[in-house]
Amino acid sequence: MRLSPDQLILWQHGFVKLNGTIAFTWALMLVLTVGSVLITRRLSTGMIRSRWQNLLEIVVTGIVGQIGEVGLRRPRVYVGFLGTLFLFVALSALGTVIPGFEPPTGSLSTTAALALCVFVAVPFYGIEEQGLGGYLKTYIELTVIMLPFNIISEVSRTLALAVRLFGNMMSGAMILAILLTITPFVFPIAMSVLGLLTGMVQAYIFSILAAVYIASATRARAPKAKPKTGTPPPTAA
């Protein structure tokens, strides 16, 4: 039994290989990109618009609104990164309803890659917003003694992000696979619905946590821009 789609090797040439994770990721990328291109090809700026455009507008404006509520001053700057995180994770979870599809987020390599992206994006946006000195100062804020704790926090929350998403997605797929072998009729459907819900929640948690980390790194210059919702601890959920 495969714990991860990484183990599904489609093609390999030495170190370079094409496994199931990459293939399913490409499939998701293709669906997202082609769907976006098709829908946004004929966008209406008037009051009457297609239902697909309506859906995308709801999704995009919803994401922008959520990012703004977290406390980021310019949500449209971050919507590309945070919105893509959410859509990728959410669509991976949604894809589980397709037989044969294995979510790439069920691979620790994918979640680690996403967590690494967040790990890099936080200082990137922090430095972009506050400058290098201003960002580095956040590590020794209050007192220098906090420096090692901040570094440990930075690393551990990245690890937590990766493992949390991997554990949830992998366990959902695993439970579904196990239940299919035991009770092949009604019960797996209920678990599949639960898995969809869990996947949506995980997508939300992952992108919101990333937004919170970025917000905490960029907030020093914008003390007034406090989030409406309390900042959750890095190890939440």
Binding site: L3, S4, D6, F15, V16, K17, N19, T21, I22, T25, W26, M29, L32, T33, S36, V37, T40, L43, S44, T45, G46, M47, Q53, L56, E57, V60, T61, V64, R76, V79, G80, F81, G83, T84, L85, L87, F88, P104, S107, L108, S109, T110, A112, A113, L114, L116, C117, F166
Partner: protein
């Protein structure tokens, strides 16, 4: 091993490519479309606000115009009311003047009528008085009265002055026919002879006399010859009395139409004229 580092790198790269792709094909077009729509809505709202402002301005202008129109109407109504009242007063004054004029005319006519009636009554009374007097005298004219009348006539003849005598004598000489003696009664022979004697005493020549009866003379005798006339009768007295009465009435009427009644002077003058001409 759950982590494959090549896959990690590939997935990170895939994710970054996906970020770029979605930015390019999803977020930017959608956000631009939303912005365009919001701009459109804002523009429509601004247009609506502008239209509303214009409408409110027009409404205010219309209200002002209505108020001005109401004021003007009220002014015109007030003016018309005043003019109507003035016209009414003028018409009432005219009517009062006309009524006064009619009343005055009617009063004048009444006065004229009264005067005329008065005049008629006076004339009638006078005529009746004289008629009665004449009738009474005619009734009284008996033998004694006629004798007395004849005596008076004879005495008059005898009492004539020289000038009258010569005038009568001259007239009798030139007369071709007999002299005429008219009396209101049938004169007896004795009286005719007495008159003949009296005339003979005045005129030396014999003068033939012709006697006639004329009841209009009312108890009188009239002697006429060659344009000379000698008479005595009661009708002359009555005629003299009538002339005196008429003169008295005329003087009274002139006194009644005094200078303080100029509007009636014309009528009074006419009345005077009537009286005098009569």
């Amino acid at each position: 091993m759950l982590i494959d580092w090549f896959t990690v790198g590939a997935q990170a790269l895939n994710f970054l490519i996906l970020v770029w792709l979605l930015k390019r094909f999803l977020y930017r077009p959608i956000i631009d479309a939303v912005d365009a729509r919001e701009k459109l809505i804002a523009k429509e709202r601004a247009d609506a606000d502008a239209i509303k402002t214009t409408a409110e301005a027009e409404r205010d202008a219309l209200q002002k115009k209505n108020a001005a129109f109401d004021r003007q109407r009220a002014d015109l109504l007030d003016q018309a009311t005043k003019e109507a009242a003035a016209e009414r007063q003028r018409l009432l004054d005219d009517a009062a003047k006309a009524a006064d004029a009619v009343a005055a005319k009617r009063q004048t006519l009444l006065r004229q009528e009264a005067t005329s009636l008065d005049q008629d009554v006076t004339d009638r009374a006078r005529a009746e008085v004289f008629a009665i007097a004449g009738k009474v005298l005619k009734d009284l004219a008996g033998a004694s009265l006629e004798e007395r009348v004849g005596d008076i006539f004879i005495r008059q003849l005898q009492g004539l002055g020289d000038a009258s005598r010569s005038a009568i004598a001259g007239a009798l000489k030139t007369a071709s026919g007999p002299a005429l003696v008219r009396s209101s009664f049938e004169m007896p022979e004795t009286q005719q002879e007495a008159i003949q004697d009296a005339i003979d005493k005045i005129v030396p020549a014999k003068v033939p006399l012709r006697f006639e009866t004329a009841p209009a003379l009312i108890g009188g005798i009239e002697f006429t010859m060659a344009g000379q006339k000698l008479a005595w009768n009661i009708a002359d007295y009555l005629s003299t009395l009538q002339t005196g009465v008429e003169d008295l009435i005329a003087a009274k009427d002139r006194q009644a139409s005094g200078p303080d009644q100029p509007s009636e002077s014309r009528t009074d003058q006419t009345t005077d004229h009537k009286i005098q001409s009569r």
